[in-house]
Amino acid sequence: MAVPEESRRLNVYLLEARDPYAALGAYPFVDGTIRPALEEIVLATPRLKLIFAAAAYTSPDLLDRISMDARRALQLRLAKNPAAPPKALARLLEDDACERIRRYVAMHPRCDRTTMSKLADNTSINVRRAVAGNPNATASVLAKLVAEGDGQIDRNAASGPFADRDTLQALWDKGDRQVRAEIAAHPNCPEDLLERAEATADKLILRKLASNPALDSSVLTRLTADDDERVRVAAVRNIAVAGDLVEESGYEPSPKVRRIFARCRRLASGAVTRLAADPDSWVRCWIARNPAVPGDILHCLAIDAVMEVRRSVGRNPACPASLQIALAGDPAPWVRAGVAMREDAPEAAIKQLLDDRHPDVLSALGRNPRTPAASLDAIAHHADKDVRRSVAFNQSAFAPLAAHLAEDPYPLNRVIAAGHSNLALAWVWRLLDDPEPQVRFVAAARLARQWNPQGRAPAASALKL
């Protein structure tokens, strides 16, 4: 059947069924000519408007349309909705919006520069504070706000990503220690202020300074030897994030710091052996998961008394095949499950795990694309809904299994199956009649997306169901 004909069929269905959830799912991907009719269906009742105004999965165009409604409850929901487009947010301020709405718009991550600039002049101090706390607040807006001399504005502005050197300098001169601490952590912090922060004995400022990604490595190294535990944690984490070699400066008494050490990809010689024998099991977990750890150390950690440590070895991307096979026979199901979810697990390990009956292991096998079809079939028919769901996530599962899960009694499993790449389109059509609104939403979106994959959809994160 030709694609345009299928597309027309879907449009006819959407208009006849008048299902708001199917219409909502298809809306971002359909032809502009049908959109007004779908809007009428989606926003047919006050209740539906309220539901969709608050939903992050609603299309930005629909949210814009909802913003034309003056009902206060709708405006409040829109102002709080992370998917609300800048145009809709600006519109909320047109008709004498209450302070709550102005405040939510001011702190909204999608609030545009013009609106934010306007809100920076708002009569309410709470609104201006919210603008100062918005991570998108521009340098000029922040400069204007800090001139006010409000402590809360200063604290918010000091951590604003766009705060420039002049603003940070002005804030340092008049700010309290909390403001100075934020400035010390700021990537735009001027050199002379970094030096003043480094020279201070105030641990709050030093902790923040140690987390500054722009800090000189020699200063960071010095801070790793500070007598304050949290300063050392911040410094070591900063070095680890940068991927630099971590040099230990003698025995580290804090397990919190040693845990960060254990996560570093580049560790000084001798550190790995010492951390693998650490009395703190979380340190051993982190080192067991570290891909930079050599095989002989992993073998020692694979017989650790603590189950989580052994599981960490099994989850380590560099875990040798022989060790994976050994861990597939571990007495703890949680450890076996760690191996079962590996896509690179050796055949012998997978074979050994196929006889396992524990739900954790079966769920891991269900997601693994290397699990044989016959085993996936058994897992997809398991009595536990959570075990069955693992197969719905497995894009290697064949069409009949995807179809089986599209009829699962547990609604969430049907939602996931509706998006399965191997589910036949005929089945997706059937799901438009599903009793669960989420399933109908996903099915309609999938069908409509085929013909217009570039549709203006909400952010992918909002569609994580």
Partner: protein
Amino acid sequence: MKILVAVKQVSVLDDEFEMREDGRDVDEDFFEKDLNEFDHFAVEEALLIAEAAGDEAEVVIVTVGDEDADDALRTALAKGAERGIRVWDDSLVDADSIAIARVLAKVVERENPDMVFTGAQSVDFGHAATGMALAGLLGWPHAAVVSKLEFKPGNERATIHRELEGGLEEIMSVACPAVLSIQLGINQPRYASLRGIRQARQKPVDELDLSDLGLTAEAVKAASRVRRMYAPEKGQAEIIEGSVAEQAARLAEIVKELRGA
């Protein structure tokens, strides 16, 4: 063998809501309607007993509510109950738990079941009164907040477990027929299969009004009335930042401010 399960379509509130103009309830636009959570467990318990008994057992679902309540009724039917009864009359709009119990008592007289189950309470109003009021009106043995039930069709008595304060558990024996209000966690409620949901659309539902049950509007007049519903003003909250010493100092300041010192 027949088990009658009384269920309720409850209203679940959105996080932001507005009150009705008369100030006696929340504006209906802000409600999500659903089958009462406790009732899922009551229905499941009835189905488990019926399934163990075989073909001769019947589970009947009853609800008091307008057309909207059909969704709750069909949800229960989709799980496997045989048929449903929905009672409604406009004079029941402001009905309280006792008035609902009066209606249910008439349904029980009409159906003559061997057992009656209800949820321990409804999640929207939480009176936990309907089931026990029903037992009182019928003059039947009863037990509230049942967390375990041992009963087979034909038994003259049922053994039940009840959760009490302080972690205590009470084991009781009640004569049947009885009214039992079922606690959460007594079983693991099933999800209705798609087939069950489709079949539920065709299952028979008796729609009754007060006259069908020999009742009058006067007989179900509520003895209580909601005068006002409102959200009390919230107290202020402040996040105290800084070191332990700074936090303690600020805390002392707040205490002084509150005491007016």
